[in-house]
């Protein structure tokens, strides 16, 4: 198998995000889908993995307001690092800019993926 021809990489997913698309990896056998790369499915050990486009909308299921962060986000604090349940049930991580207090982003808040020149996977309130 030539990896150049068949493997959809995290770099490919990053390029797709620039076009506004969130991409995921799906087990062709059982349908388990995740936002991080897999080569063998942890649910049924299936080895036929497909690439799928994920919905760009979802809701916040967990978050933290970051007051201190690494150099890449030094100009963005405070902001929220978030876990989002997309409308198809798949979970993905990301961040929401300009969140200073917990009450600014209650659990269940609807968010939408927003292509950006800024780092990571950025969401905004829908």
């Amino acid at each position: 198998m030539s990896s150049e021809q068949t493997v959809f990489t995290m770099e490919d997913a990053k390029q797709a995000r620039k076009d506004g698309k969130l991409m995921g990896w799906k087990c062709a056998q059982c349908g388990h889908t995740q936002a991080t790369p897999m080569f063998i499915c942890s649910k049924d050990m299936g080895r036929k993995i497909e690439t799928v486009e994920l919905p760009g909308e979802g809701e916040i299921v967990d978050f933290t307001v970051q007051k201190i962060s690494s150099e890449d986000f030094i100009n963005d604090v405070p902001f929220a690092f978030v876990l989002v349940k997309l409308t198809n049930g798949v979970h993905i991580s990301g961040w929401v800019p300009d969140i200073a207090r917990d009450r600014d982003l209650p659990l269940g808040t609807k968010v939408r993926y927003t292509p950006s020149y800024r780092p990571g996977i950025m969401f905004e309130k829908a």
Binding site: T36, I68, S69, F81, H91
Partner: protein, 388 residues
């Protein structure tokens, strides 16, 4: 498989280390060599636990440590499993002796990060996360544990006051630990007034960035008996993992580290006794919430009751199951690579009755170490027992 014993331990004081990584590692190893009275030439090799020696532009540090110890011909390799590097190195040393490949082996953990400013250190630590999906999305390590804390609060009603109780207890223990980074008590009020770092976690929920080194020498029963020290056996060991990326784990449960439960089961199966027979534990309290989750994952308390237990004083020295009599990562400090080996240092000294009487767990015969890499991607559990 052969029985394995800890024959000697050593540790630098945690905090800010003037020495380089190689010197700190060698000093901790020297203390272990002197305490065990072993001829260094009988040590067959070492595993070095270290995550960030590159901050000194020094890779391949093992052979430099062995040369400094006068045994350059003995092999040394670095083991990296983020914050669980220490216990992972210890495990491989034990495996070498248990498997008959060596009669004596050493684990040395070492870290030096005080040369980095806070922002740079935060960036380095984030490399232990799933960097593309966590660190590069802005998550710091406090941020990742904040996700676990919020999940625990949502599911079980755990409170900030209960998190503070962990910090207050561990600082009180570290006050009597001359090798601790912070030998000072704090109050619940000080916790409450400290700044929010990653909500809901505050500065006083977090362990510090520490420098430090720790070493442990393990050997066969024959070697241990010949050396004449206390007979402290590696009675059980487990090493497991969890889904390492939080977005892939949140669908199941963020209030537990599955790898910790699995590693604990392996260790108990090896030991052949239940968790209730353990006298005290050193657990990986990189953040206050981590100690509460650990106390539940290890089976000391039912899921959702760990926070109430710490508040009720059940994990104090003298309580039902003392946790972190050393002060833990929270107050003793967290020199990443050294931490897991430092837990072995504490347990050995507790079992040998050699710690400051103010924090000695009286009559302890069995101690447990729980060491975690990242948010549970790597977990190691080790049980040491005094053999009469």
């Amino acid at each position: 498989m052969r029985d394995v014993y800890v024959v000697g331990v050593g540790s630098t004081k945690y905090g800010k280390m003037r020495e380089s990584v190689r010197e700190g590692a060698a000093l901790a190893a020297l203390e272990a060599i002197e305490n065990s009275k072993i001829d260094p030439r009988l040590i067959d090799g070492a595993f070095i636990a270290n995550a960030f020696a590159v901050t000194e532009r020094q890779g391949h540090v093992g052979p430099l440590v062995m040369s400094a110890l006068g045994i350059p011909e003995k092999p040394a390799s670095t083991i990296e499993a983020a914050c669980a590097s220490g216990a992972s190195a210890f495990r491989e040393a034990v495996v070498n002796v248990a498997g008959g490949f060596a009669d004596a082996y050493m684990a040395i953990g070492v870290e030096k990060v005080s040369t980095l400013d806070t922002i740079t250190a935060t960036g380095y630590f984030a490399m232990g996360s799933d960097f593309v999906y966590e660190g590069a999305c802005g998550a710091s390590f406090p941020g990742l544990y904040a996700m676990l804390a919020r999940a625990h609060m949502q599911r079980y009603g755990t409170t900030e006051e209960q998190l503070a109780a962990v910090a207050v207890k561990n600082h009180a223990n570290a006050k009597h630990n001359e090798k601790a980074h912070f030998q000072k008590e704090i109050t619940a009020e000080m916790h409450k007034e400290s700044m929010v770092v990653s909500s809901p976690l505050r500065l006083y929920d977090a362990c510090p960035f520490s420098d430090g080194a720790a070493a442990a020498i393990v050997a066969t029963k024959e070697v241990a008996q010949r050396l004449g020290g206390p007979m402290i056996k590696v009675a059980g060991m487990g090493r497991a993992g969890s889904v390492a990326s939080l977005p892939d784990r949140v669908a199941t449960d963020l209030t537990t580290l599955p790898g910790a439960k699995l590693a604990m089961k392996q260790a108990l199966d090896r030991w052949g006794k239940p968790a209730s027979k353990i006298d005290f534990a050193e657990v990986h309290d990189c953040f206050t919430i981590a100690e509460i989750i650990a106390s539940e994952d290890l089976g000391f308390f039912a899921p959702g009751t760990g926070a109430k237990a710490v508040e009720a004083g059940e994990t104090k020295i003298g309580g039902r199951i003392p946790i972190n009599p050393s002060g833990g990562l929270k107050a003793k400090g967290h020199p990443v690579g050294a931490t897991g080996v430092g837990q072995i240092y504490e347990i050995y000294n507790q079992l040998a009755g050699k710690v400051n009487p103010a924090r000695q767990v009286r009559g302890a015969k069995v101690g447990l170490a729980h060491n975690v890499g990242a948010t549970g991607g790597s977990v190691a559990v080790t049980i040491l027992e005094v053999e009469n």
